[in-house]
Structure formats: structure tokens, C-alpha cells
């Protein structure tokens, strides 16, 4: 490459670096969080794949990402687990979100209560003899 061509390329590279440089370094280990959500909205039926991708994002953020788990990630994973019927695990991740981000505690408590309530309903539906017949007396375990 001769000088005359080299110089413009240098200028162009500098321009590109300036543009990307504006984005700066990230505070959190996002991985491809946005691409994962995008793919989920593109193929909403593919729950299993979405769940697996979120699992990888969480694991990567906790390990190679140095624990810089971004806001919302634990909760998003917990929600995908809940949708897959893995309620016990979902509660764990709602709890992790709450612990890492106190701003989320109100809605995470709500999620945990909802999951537990639905677990109860499902349990009762599965064994109807356990459900008391009278409403007035309240439920007995």
C-alpha cells in the first residue's frame, strides 16, 4: 500500500474509532442480552431456546463477567423459568434480582407471592380431596 492511499485509510479508521469510542465501556456484562430479546420477539414460540440463552447470559455474567450481572437479567431468567413451569427455580432468581437490585424488591416480592399462590392452586387442583369444601372455615393444611 503506498503512502497516498494509506493516509486516507488512516483517517477513515480514526473516524470509525471515534464513533465506536463514543459508546464507551459498559458497566455490566450484558453479553448478547439485546440480541436474545430480539430473537425471542422474532420467534416467541421458541421458549426452550430463549430459556437456554438466558441461562448462558446469567452464567457468563456471574463468571467471566466478574459478577457484573445487569439489572433485570436475573428477573428475566426467573420469569422464563416460571413460564417453563420450573417455579422453585424461578423464585430463586426473583430472589437474586431483589438481593442485587433493591429497587426491584417490590415487584420481585409480588412475583414470588404470585408464583407461590399458583403453586398452591395447582397442588390443590392435583389433589382435590385436600381442598376443604367449606369456604367459611378457611383453608386447612
Amino acid at each position: 500500500m503506498n503512502r497516498k492511499i494509506f493516509l486516507p485509510w488512516l483517517v477513515l479508521t480514526a473516524a470509525l474509532l471515534t464513533v465506536t469510542g463514543c459508546a464507551g465501556n459498559r458497566m455490566y456484562a450484558w453479553g448478547n442480552y439485546d440480541d436474545t430479546l430480539y430473537a425471542h420477539y422474532k420467534n416467541p414460540q421458541d421458549h426452550e431456546k430463549h430459556l437456554e440463552k438466558l441461562n448462558v447470559l446469567v452464567t457468563d455474567a456471574e463468571t467471566t463477567g466478574g459478577g457484573k450481572v445487569p439489572p433485570g437479567l436475573y428477573a428475566e431468567y426467573g420469569f422464563a423459568l416460571y413460564e417453563a413451569g420450573r417455579t422453585d427455580e424461578s423464585v430463586i432468581y426473583f430472589g437474586k434480582e431483589k438481593e442485587k437490585w433493591p429497587e426491584s424488591s417490590f415487584v420481585m416480592d409480588k412475583m414470588i407471592r404470585n408464583v407461590r399462590r399458583q403453586d398452591e392452586i395447582r397442588k390443590n387442583a392435583a389433589s382435590p380431596e385436600a381442598v376443604p369444601t367449606t369456604e367459611a372455615g378457611g383453608r386447612k393444611q
Partner: protein
């Protein structure tokens, strides 16, 4: 184009890129923003005024990162979307017209980000295709329901036509390039760029650093 003019043209491009990439926007009034001092942002489903039906969800997927990177807790957008649907707010226009404080109370949020897609289209012009996204972002505070911040951002992309040699061959190459862009316009990088510009601060119109950001309170003081 002669050899001598190439560096001049490139310098002009560089200047234009730097100008658009890092332009200093007119200063916004952050008085209301400061007095509410939100720690968290509830990003609600996007209202879509474009003809591309899936654009709302696609755009929603780009919003968490730029807002969280400004130092705010961002509620998980997909979980939020589902909870709102369960509450009978499946239509984003309904969510946007709902009472702000009611939305806040559902999630325990400090502020709500309302995003609207004004444009998300690819227009075929003579031998080129222009891809355009345009967004309106509004942040409302949960204490008052008032608007704390508003910004409109447009991004346009046209494929670069580096035709080999000129003449008919170059025209054909341009036509193919334009047709390909029209057939499969890639909006996502444009949407991310728009967000990047919209939320940048202090060298942009964006949010002052939130409580999780090392520049919290410092950047706003320095910008005065």
C-alpha cells in the same frame, strides 16, 4: 475523482461523522429531573406509529442497555410486558394512556420511559435505499407524573455505493445494493445508534448519571 481530492473528501466525512456522533446538544433543563432524582426506570412497551408491525417489540429489546448503562435500575422489559398484559394492558397505546402513578405503583418504580416509534421504514430512491428510524422518548416521574425529560432522535442510513470503476457496471452494482437494502433493511444497528445518541450525557441530550454510575451527581454539576 483525483488522488488529491480523496483526503479532502475523507476529512469532510470525518468531520461530519464526528459532528453527528458527538454533537453537543442544546442544554436541557434538568430541574424536575433532579428534584425527582429517580433511581429506577420502568421501560414500558413501545407505541408504534410505523407500518412495520413487529417494530415495537424489536425496538423494546434495544432500550434496557443504554438506560441501565446510564446508572439506573431498569425493570426487566419482557417481564413487565407480560405483567401488563395480565393486568389487561396488552395494547401499548393503552399502557401509554394509563395513569403514570398507577403504572409506577404496579412495579414500585421511580420513573417511566415512554418510547414511541415515529418512523421505521426503507424507502427506495433513485438507485439507493434510505433506511430511517425516528423515535420519541419521554421520561415521566412517579412522584408527580410530570415529564422529566423528552427527546426525539432520527437516524438515516443509505448503503455506500462503491461501484467498481464507474459506467454501467457501477450503476448495476448500485441498483443491486439498493434492492438488497430494500429487501432486508437492517433496522437494529440504527435503532441502537439512535438510543446511544439519545441517552448520552453530558456530550449529548441524555440522562444525567444515575445512582449506580460513578459520575452520579458529578456530571450534572460539571455541566452547569
Amino acid at each position: 475523482m483525483s488522488r488529491q481530492t480523496i483526503p479532502a473528501v475523507l476529512s469532510a466525512i470525518l468531520a461530519a461523522v464526528v459532528a453527528t456522533g458527538c454533537a453537543t446538544a442544546p442544554k436541557k433543563d434538568f430541574t424536575a429531573f433532579q428534584s425527582e432524582n429517580p433511581r429506577s426506570v420502568l421501560v414500558i412497551p413501545v407505541v408504534n406509529r410505523s407500518v412495520e408491525v413487529n417494530a415495537a417489540d424489536y425496538f423494546l429489546s434495544t432500550l434496557s442497555i443504554p438506560v441501565a448503562e446510564r446508572g439506573y435500575y431498569v425493570f426487566p422489559v419482557d417481564l413487565v410486558k407480560h405483567l401488563l398484559e395480565n393486568d389487561g394492558l396488552a395494547d401499548s397505546a393503552m399502557v401509554h394512556s394509563a395513569d403514570t402513578t398507577k403504572l409506577c405503583n404496579l412495579f414500585g418504580a421511580d420513573s417511566v420511559l415512554y418510547a414511541t416509534i415515529e418512523r421505521w421504514d426503507a424507502q427506495y430512491l433513485v438507485l439507493t435505499t434510505q433506511v430511517t428510524v425516528a423515535f420519541d422518548y419521554t421520561l415521566k416521574g412517579c412522584k408527580t407524573g410530570d415529564t422529566l425529560w423528552n427527546h426525539k432522535q432520527t437516524m438515516v442510513y443509505s448503503p455506500q455505493n462503491q461501484g467498481g470503476g464507474g459506467g454501467v457496471g457501477a450503476l448495476v452494482a448500485m441498483a443491486i445494493n439498493a434492492a438488497m437494502t430494500k429487501a432486508m433493511p437492517n433496522y437494529m444497528p440504527l435503532a441502537r445508534q439512535a438510543n446511544g445518541m439519545a441517552f448520552k450525557f453530558p456530550d449529548g441530550p441524555g440522562f444525567p448519571a444515575g445512582s449506580h454510575h460513578p459520575e452520579h451527581l458529578k456530571d450534572l454539576a460539571a455541566a452547569k
